[in-house]
Symmetry: C2
Subunit: 361 residues, 2 copies
Amino acid sequence: MSTKFSSALVERLSPYVPGEQRDGDNIVKLNTNENPYPPSPQVLRAIATVDGHALRRYPDPESLTLRKSLAEYHQLEVDEVFVGNGSDEILALAFMAFFTRKPSGAAALQFPELSYSFYPVYCDLLNIKSQMLPLNSDFSINMNAFDNNGGGIVFPNPNAPTSLAESAESIEALLKRVPDTLVLIDEAYVDFGAQSMVGFINQYPNLVVTQTFSKSRSLAGMRLGVAYANSSLIEAFSKVKNSFNSYPVDALAQQAGIASIQDQDYYLQTMEKIIATRNKTTDELKLRGFRVLDSAANFLFASPTKHNAAALFNYLNENNVLVRYWQSDLLKHWLRISIGTEEDMQLMLALIDEADEAAFV
Amino acid sequence: MSTKFSSALVERLSPYVPGEQRDGDNIVKLNTNENPYPPSPQVLRAIATVDGHALRRYPDPESLTLRKSLAEYHQLEVDEVFVGNGSDEILALAFMAFFTRKPSGAAALQFPELSYSFYPVYCDLLNIKSQMLPLNSDFSINMNAFDNNGGGIVFPNPNAPTSLAESAESIEALLKRVPDTLVLIDEAYVDFGAQSMVGFINQYPNLVVTQTFSKSRSLAGMRLGVAYANSSLIEAFSKVKNSFNSYPVDALAQQAGIASIQDQDYYLQTMEKIIATRNKTTDELKLRGFRVLDSAANFLFASPTKHNAAALFNYLNENNVLVRYWQSDLLKHWLRISIGTEEDMQLMLALIDEADEAAFV
């Protein structure tokens, strides 16, 4: 499906495929790690009361008020905070700013072989040489495998789809060991139980931390991602952003972000509920013979023993419970199950019980 | 301001600088070609009634309902329509999809020397060889200067900052003359008085048309841009988008776009008001000795004869009327003045009269 007008770049791309966004009243959607709870009522109020003049005007290209509010929240300076159109855009800009091939001596960008599957896609897009490193046998990241090669290191913490977290100590040890190599910690899921490295950005000049409002803040629909780093790294982000899109974050996303940060109580309550449901679901799945890794995220990485994973995925899917399944060698025995409401998980467990009883999967 | 961690790419960038977003009750903002009127009340209603579950979920990555509504509006198929996070993102993706350098034989991307100043920035970002072609002496685009070089052609119609439109006949003649070269017509301002080429996308396989909701639809704050082309070119857009950001258009922008398209009456009334104000302001400025080009856009390209343009820009700025001024050789005698409300323009004209009387500028 190419034309004589499309660029060589288009020919070499293998795009990322997100989880299905099937919709409907009966769908239990546990396939894209969305938050099952709506955002804070303060967010909805901020959106509902926006006036037409805020929409007819361009948004603040620097998102200054939002960045100030994030800086204050993390006790940072505003020039240590960068925002973008979702964590995916933040990552794309980071790959441009830090990992594109230097004219000479192309050291590879290193990431775990199981991690966010958008990383190799960015590498294709931007012509970045990459090296995928095997995980340890317990699915944890082999931190010793990363090399101080100058090409860069990126991994999610907690990792996806494994759900496992690295400790701050382990990451600090890495940062010290690879002083010539930029380390990007993708903290999309950090709020559900891992230690954030945001507080370390001024201690380690080679550290960039990215976060998102899509998961813990229930704002996947608004597209809002954040990067934290020392001010000179943030300036590199800005330079790339201002060469790509002056206004990536719209006026409502800025307002929604500010309102979300202000409602700390709501955020903490939501985290508490999701973590409780996660831990309970982990136990329930283990009772049903699943191997489940210790999740620090809002999803479980779970391998059924009584069922074939692919068949169970299809069975759940046919019964309107969407989870995520990949056919690759490393993943074919596993499901990634997002944490929904208590009711969502009960419904999924009941379906699994039915499958167990009838032994039809 | 570079660090040892920023890429070679960052070093070579000279980012685009948008017009100042100074805010306040007394500011008359005629510097970023925003629409002076708010979006349709239907748009505000669509936004105010969004529910929390639409925000906690990822938006439709394909923006299907919005694209269907745009396809219907223009009597096209849905796979001939692509949407993105503002026209700037659309242009960036188009440059990636169609203008990035082929491995061998790097033909230059051609654009007029006066046009949207983001084009050379994208070329820097993406390492695209470019060729800027001089305008005719009357500031119109020299359509004969474009070459069938295979590298690509891009220009705004109406052009910015000149405000002049090319006719559909003239663009058709170009499309026929350069069959091996992709032609991107950037129709950001087309609704204010130029002929759109959207209806020609199936006649010319080398035609891509981009538009935006930022100007005629009063939605600059929401970031919504569109591309129209034959389905195989749209597929190239999708491939790049899905290698950059799966969900560039947020849930509210999709809803706002749909609601805006539905309210055709409001749109037509707004266009009528702005065009009437534009024509009146053109006459008033000419009465005051300005040279003003025949605008087909929502801004005027105007050169004062009684005043130095830079001094007049500063004088207006100090009096809270923001217009756009560039110091380059080609532009230093000109101002770009966005069309505001009738009152906005009267206020600007009154300030110019004061300057005339006192001869202090």
